[in-house]
Amino acid sequence: MGKGNSNKVVILIISLFISLIVGAVVFAMCGYSPLSAYIAILKGGLGSRSSIIISLSQTMIIAFMGLAYITAIRAGICNIGLEGQMYVGAIAAAIAGVYIKGIPSFIHVPLVLLMAIVAAGLWGMLVAVLKIRFGANEIITAIMLNFIAENFTSYLVSGPMKVEGTVAQSERVQDSAHLVNLVDTPQLSSGILIFFFLTIIIFLIMKYTRFGFEVRVTGENALAAETGGISAKRTMSIAMFTSGAIAGLAGAIIVIGVNGRFIDGFSSGFGWDGIAVASLAGLNVIGNIFSSFLFGVLRAGATVVNRTARIPYDFIVVIQAFIVLLLGCPKLSEDLYGKIRKIAVRKGKKDE
């Protein structure tokens, strides 16, 4: 077990290096200095107290999405509806945050989070229900549900819920619904604590409970699970509810912890990044923390590179894509690792 893991880590590191080198080539080809670009990314992502906090606040949302993806895929459903579930959770949070008035904060905040969990969880479970009852392909239904969620929430904040002014956004949530900041300047929402708490819960459930076992078996082979007396349908539905709920929770935290309101089109592809970090982490909930941090640093760093080195943001997206791509073909890194090791072994023998 330990050996297998350390090999995985080495392969991961090789993939990272290769993608950085490919990235460097792309930078150089377009006339940017790769070294100064990478230094700027590191500085922007980790260079100071404030940049670390900015990286962390980016990490938080991506990590939520990664966790949501892992929860579903463990049960054998590829949830690419994260983006839509996040929007649904966010709008539910906005509705509860704006229109419920006059209750103390220690009731209001949990209530808002609960609304988001229920709304987004049901929205996520819809995918599983459509799959189980009608045999619908979960990829297609999830993509369609994404469109519906994005556009419907967009309608709500451009129409009935719109605040006065030129921007399509909801009103500010009540003060009592605000999630307190962990750090004030620059802001880091205490949502990150909720994330760590959730990660531990999911980790424990997956590892030590009967339900976790059922999820694993269903994910490996639904038919075998059914034969063994596990209701695969029930397991899938619950897993999708949980997955959607986690994505929705991230949306709620953006609304009550980051922006203070629902802004139309607030997501910059968090759901998609979530899938990438989950894959990068090998679908491991603990690994998810680290891969999300990597993406968070890249995101925060990218904005600084964009500003100081005049390198378009899209370059960072290219590097991120390379990392995921290379991990998608582990054979390549393995082969490389094997070859280099052989050479090293031969050399080592000669030296002796």
Binding site: S33, S36, G44, I54, D184, V258, R261, S268
Partner: protein, 365 residues
């Protein structure tokens, strides 16, 4: 076992070396981004709208303004292109934490809530934002007066609809304006148009069409057609991406239109588009930089209108004949607005009495 791990370590170290070696070579060829630490130089940060640069509109105009300020006033500037509305908080924080920017410009009204939240955290940092009002002591809010956007176009329409010598212009004194959505600012645009048209000719019938979206040229085209069918012969458009529908319908019906934002409507249909109401965001950005250098930057709301040269009417390369007397009259109106002698009405109900008070501006050939 131990040996194996050793090779892993060796391998990783060699990869590190490889990478740094690569990088080292490239720094000689490309290490050019020197930063001047001279504190005398004014440095501006521009955070553009989510449309990004290359939108041929808003963002490009702000960039052009800073470029001009760089060339002529010697400022320095950096810019960023956020991917979504939720990125503004991150960008604002990064720019503000950096501390080297004399002014951080937000070229997006979507940044409103982020700036409202963050501006008080950085009391010594100057910010500016466009199209919305942020009530903080260190923010300059640039707010367009949409009545001014359409007023001159309205006057032009009201004057020309009387002129039956122009091809296809009918007897009826009817014109129209197509606005993007039913919002307060858009309604102000419609108000400015009506005021202009009825100032030129008091009995002008002004029709207002609402598309419902800024990216729906098909509906804009239908609405324009219905205005033409009802006897209107000049339609102004204030509908962003939907505007093209109006321009196309004008072409099909061989009637007339007035564009907005840039000169591109005129070049699209030079035989049908009479003029276009231009926004000069670039010059406002430039003047902000100038104020910054002179230490005269004033916080609070700064209204953008005809009187400070923000909206300009342009006839471009249009083939529609506009009499010189009318052009002179419009220039006169601009002068009166600049000097404050002419003040536009605030509500629809005021228009009638306002026209009576300003009867000297009636247009007759």
């Amino acid at each position: 076992m131990k040996n194996k791990n050793l090779y892993k370590v060796f391998f990783i170290i060699s990869l590190c070396l490889l990478l740094t070696a690569c990088g080292g070579k490239k720094i000689d060829s490309g290490g050019s981004s020197e930063k001047s630490n001279d504190k005398e130089v004014i440095k501006v940060g521009l955070i553009v709208g989510t449309g990004g640069l290359g939108d041929q509109n808003f963002n490009d105009l702000a960039y052009a303004g800073l470029k001009m300020a760089k060339d002529e006033l010697g400022i320095e500037f950096d810019y960023s292109e956020p991917q979504s509305a939720s990125d503004y908080a991150t960008y604002i924080t990064q720019y503000a934490e950096d501390g080297s920017y004399d002014l951080i410009m937000l070229n997006a009204s979507e940044a409103e809530s982020a700036l409202t939240e963050l501006a008080p955290n950085y009391p010594d940092q100057k910010f500016s934002i466009i199209d919305t009002m942020v009530d903080a002591e260190n923010v300059v809010s640039l707010v367009k007066d949409f009545r001014d956007y359409t007023f001159l176009g309205g006057y032009l329409a009201g004057a020309l609809t009387q002129d039956t010598s122009i091809e296809n212009m009918n007897e009826q004194h009817a014109v129209g304006i197509v606005i993007g959505v039913d919002s307060p600012v858009m309604q102000e645009g419609a108000l400015g148009f009506e005021a202009g048209a009825r100032l030129a000719c008091a009995d002008t019938d002004v029709r207002v069409g609402i598309v419902g979206a800024f990216d729906d040229p098909a509906t804009a085209k239908e609405i324009t057609k219905s205005i033409y069918d009802g006897g209107g012969d000049i339609v102004m458009t204030l509908a962003g991406g939907s505007s093209l529908g109006t321009i196309n319908q004008a072409k099909e019906s061989s009637l007339y239109a007035i564009g907005c934002t840039s000169e591109s409507p005129i070049s699209t249909a030079p035989d049908n588009v009479i003029a276009s109401s231009l926004e000069s965001l670039d010059s406002i950005v430039f003047s902000l930089c100038k104020d910054l250098i002179d230490g005269k930057l004033e916080y609070g709301e700064r209204s953008l209108g005809i009187y400070n040269g923000y909206f300009v009417i342009s006839y471009g390369e249009s083939n529609v004949p506009v009499p010189q007397t009318l052009k002179d009259k419009i220039n006169e109106l601009v002068g009166k607005l600049e000097s404050g002698e002419l003040v536009l009405p605030k509500t629809k109900n005021e228009i009638d009495s306002w026209i009576k008070d300003n009867s000297e501006y009636v247009y007759s050939e």
